[in-house]
Symmetry: C2
């Protein structure tokens, strides 16, 4: 069984229409397709068909198709279609989304598309493209409603009424009030405007000294801002106090959600966002890069075993316990990584507090190490009938669990201090070090008491 029969049939029909260039049937089909079907159908077409589809559909429907696809796929596609189609489709998006897509293009393609956008829109997009994705400027929408402070409520409503059609694409929440220098001086909720009398000047009903954020404020600080304040959006101002746009709460929450999902992938060596619709070779290569580095680290760790071949030769049962100690230490260490990552992301711990986290973590390590060590010692004793063998593997696991949680708990903080990605901590670095040390403990101690183990 592959896709459902109906999904399969639908894909076949869509492919046929694309081949016939039947724009009407395609528009009709995708306009009425629920979003989950759109995702399935659009993501399963091959790239050539996806490109043709986007060029054949009316721009407002193409936008829905692009929205349904993961961002990486959407940006790859927009780069492949003709600049004219791309510009038409971008015209249907808010400037921040346009900037995200243009930011992913090759410079020439970006230039070609920007030249075809209408001038004010192109200017907006250009001013957004220069910001990194994870600062206020990169997350903001620069389409906002700003009115002069000396307008009356009636004049403000009249001005909004005139721009009603332009505004209808945006969920306007607040009206921003500016002075003659274009600096932000106040903010008005639509409700305030609704409840005020016609002749009141805006600066009498606005909330003065509105909070704003700097255009280079990082995502984590924005998260804190929206935790602290129950706003739907916050104005973004540049160095000289001019209002550049609005960061909405939803944009921040979406970016945080994506970062979370990213960490899950990164911890497993899926650095770029892989999808099974990508070419086989791309997918294999990306995973292999990480795996090859990992196998080298594995060989380094295993070389400790080779150094003790003589001990192993005499007590072959030790070979049974090496993978157990390697795996269990890795698991304990990864638990500590997960807790540290969560505490970092909730702001419960600061990167500098390595010592505090280590003290908290080492206590868990000693307790769990003791419990797991005793368990493994008992199993080994029962199995091999040698209490000393039990003692060696149990003590090794005990010590190595403590080492693993110590490293696992503090590594994400240290990575953060070094401005590296803490999500990468849980993988190869941790397991290589705990393997090295674990093998050394088991085999080193066994060598010391070799005569008792035989």
């Amino acid at each position: 069984m592959s896709a459902t029969e109906t999904t399969r049939q639908l894909i076949d029909r869509v492919e046929a229409w694309i081949e016939e260039q039947n724009a009407v049937a395609l528009a009709d089909c995708f306009r009425n397709l629920p979003v989950d079907e759109t995702i399935l159908v659009a993501s399963r077409l091959d790239t050539d068909d996806q490109i043709l589809l986007l060029e054949l559909l009316p721009p407002d429907v193409s936008v829905d198709v692009l929205h349904a696809l993961p961002f990486a796929s959407a940006s790859d596609l927009v780069e492949e279609i003709s600049p004219a189609s791309a510009a038409e489709i971008l015209g249907e998006m808010p400037p921040s989304e346009q900037a995200d897509l243009v930011g992913e293009m090759q410079p020439e393609q970006a230039e070609a598309v920007l030249a075809l956008l209408d001038e004010s829109n192109a200017r907006r997009v250009k001013s957004l493209v220069r910001y990194p994705d994870d600062v206020a400027g990169g997350l903001m929408d620069n389409h906002f409603l700003a009115l002069s402070r000396d307008l009356t409520v009636a004049a403000a409503i009249e001005s909004i009424r005139q721009r009603a059609s332009e505004l209808s694409d945006y969920d306007v929440q607040y009206v921003y009030v500016r002075d003659v220098q274009n600096s932000l001086v106040g903010v008005l909720r639509l409700r305030d405007l609704l409840l005020a009398s016609d002749e009141t000047r805006l600066d009498r009903v606005m909330i003065t000294n509105p909070r704003s954020v700097n255009d280079y404020l990082p995502l984590d600080d924005l998260r804190e801002f929206f935790t602290e304040h129950q706003y739907l959006g916050v104005p973004v101002v540049n160095e000289s106090g001019q209002m550049m746009g609005v960061v909405n709460r939803t944009a921040v929450e979406q970016a945080l959600g994506e970062r979370n999902a990213d960490e899950f992938l990164k911890a497993r060596g899926i650095i770029q966002e892989e999808l099974r619709t990508m070419p086989l070779i791309t997918r294999s290569r990306r995973r292999l890069m990480w795996l090859s580095a990992n196998i080298v680290l594995n060989v380094i760790a295993a070389s400790v075993i080779a150094a003790y071949e003589e001990t192993l030769q005499q007590v072959i049962a030790l070979a049974v316990f090496l993978p157990i100690i390697s795996d269990m230490s890795g698991c304990s260490g990864n638990q500590a990584v997960a807790v540290s990552m969560r505490e970092l992301s909730l702001g419960l711990v600061e990167p500098r507090e390595v010592m505090r986290v280590w003290l908290k973590e080492v206590s868990v390590g000693i307790i769990n190490g003791f419990a797991l060590g005793v368990l493994l010692a008992g199993l080994a004793w029962l199995w091999q009938g040698n209490v000393w063998l039990g003692g060696v593997v149990g003590l090794a696991l005990m010590i190595n669990t403590t080492v693993a949680v110590s490293i696992g708990g503090t590594l994400p903080l240290i990575m953060k201090l070094l401005r590296l990605d803490p999500a990468l901590a849980s993988g190869p670095i941790l397991t290589t070090v705990t393997d090295l040390f674990g093998f050394f403990l088991v085999l080193g101690m066994a060598t010391q008491v070799l005569h008792l183990l035989k």
Copy 2:
């Protein structure tokens, strides 16, 4: 170095004030504390001090403290403080948050607190508590603005004006329009109200047949809804068509973000949300439960090694490669798990499509298995000078990588089909099976060609 000097000093001061029951100083301090400091200070107090703090602070400040803490900590605390204080603090929250907290309480404590809330609020909270957290009813806010369809715009504005102070705590986005049976018949954006003339009846300016969702609609379907529609919120109706509340986009995005973060923890055996401020024994016990199950599975897998002790005795070098094959297969399998989890959460694959995913994944497995197998074979050959040894470990890794990605890619889908949590797939089940099979491959093949390895 533990916390910053100033944070430490601040905590000491707060502890002193709590001891002196200095409510004024505490209120003054926490009212002006930035949210990141609030998190650090509040989370580091011991539980008794946290309880006293919440009881000493004015309710509107206590709410900020609770918001700063992770939900699990906040709900534990609210359960510990006196019902009178709890009711006062809950009174400062929207009903959906109250319901989340009340839902976590023991029944008697919940009864006591509900009895102290004002009647209409208590009714709202009770109607929310019965919904699970991950359906529309559990995510909705049941504080909304509904007006009768035959009101004029002027009367509607007058009615909103009268309720202005009550509404000021809520970010009202839409006005819902109901008929005499209390059924939802339309929706109005505040902007529409602002732009309409005074004498117009609401049902002339409202958007008719508004989209709504059922109160038991699951989170994933809500995600699809908000992907499909650019709304800020959607009305929730029960079976009989009555409007129950509003699910906001932010509530859905927040719930999805939390679920993502949860998966990261679950995959590492941190099932309950652990924080380092929790008692040591709780933290150790939770991690140990998972680790103990894991060590048993590890022992089962390692027992394959024990069954081949004789082979191992004769070719001791094999022991070096067992942990490598175990670790590398686990990594490859976990990459496949991560990609499947992501595709599931993006809606790019349906749980029934096990066969399709397997076909996509097995191709990557064969390519990567081949590359890693050749690499390991080469290393083994160079190291031990025996081409047959290289062949055995290389071939074993090759086959086992293919097995690992096959299991890893399909297991999350199978878990989902069986209505189990796919996040649990990547842990012990996967590694136990790949370890078992990997050890069996290396040692089984080595036994077959034993005379060539010596």
